[in-house]
């Protein structure tokens, strides 16, 4: 049986393995979200380093501009994606019972959605 394809289509993020999905998309999302989160963390370190003895005004003004609210929401979405993949990995590694693992992951998913909505609320209610 000769594979006549010039391009081997069994690699990449759109080929399904035995479980019906593969990990390439997760691997990539984990890296991309890690970069986004890392940049935001570095910026926050810079902010706190340059704003010694922080005033309420400076803190409030940081989150006032709409572009910073948008950036923070993107960071929050990246955070829940990153955390979800990490939690899925930990759950699959250490929780072998299907029921316990499913319940744990279900609880984590709900918590992450709560955190996202809470974070967006904080940005727009203040």
């Amino acid at each position: 049986m000769v594979n006549n394809n010039l391009y081997n289509s069994s690699y990449g993020s759109n080929s399904k393995g035995a479980m019906g999905y593969n990990g390439v998309k997760d691997w990539l999302v984990q890296r991309k979200t890690a970069v986004v989160l890392g940049l935001y963390f570095v910026y926050m370190l810079y902010f706190f380093a340059t704003n010694n003895n922080l005033s309420y005004q400076a803190w409030h003004e940081l989150f006032q501009p709409i572009y910073f609210k948008v950036i923070t929401i993107i960071v929050l979405i990246s955070l829940i994606k990153h955390v979800w993949i990490g939690l899925w990995t930990i759950a699959t590694d250490y929780l072998h019972n299907l029921l316990i693992r499913s319940l744990f992951l279900f609880l984590c998913k709900i918590l992450l959605i709560i955190y996202l909505i809470w974070g967006i609320y904080i940005l727009f209610a203040n």
Binding site: R31, G38, F41, A49, L54, L79, V83, G86, I90, L98
Partner: protein
Amino acid sequence: MQKKDKSDLRPVNLALYTIKFPITAIISIIHRISGFFLFLCIPIFLYYWQYSLSSYNNFIKIKSCLNTNICKFVLLIIILGLFYHFIAGIRHLLMDKHIGDSKSSAIFSSYFVIILNIVFAIILGIYLW
């Protein structure tokens, strides 16, 4: 793999204190532990973020709370956990690019991660106190 049938007679050693782990394994497991720890800290971050932004008085309350030693210590632990996960994560990403994935350079980079974290802990301690 999922079901443990009676033919699975492989030996199990769960007494982890008897196993000598390489430094790279320590770095890796602490990366995972700090990740889970940070997940548990997310509501703490969100709560204090919300409380500090809500009004001037609440901001001052948090600031005065942060003058106590216990709050400074807790904040130091949490931020250090975040920094550790960040630095070990960068090490992970560099290894994805095959930078430092030989055995000797992996050992070198794990000591480098430890040293960076000690330096950051000292800087953060000076900043907070």
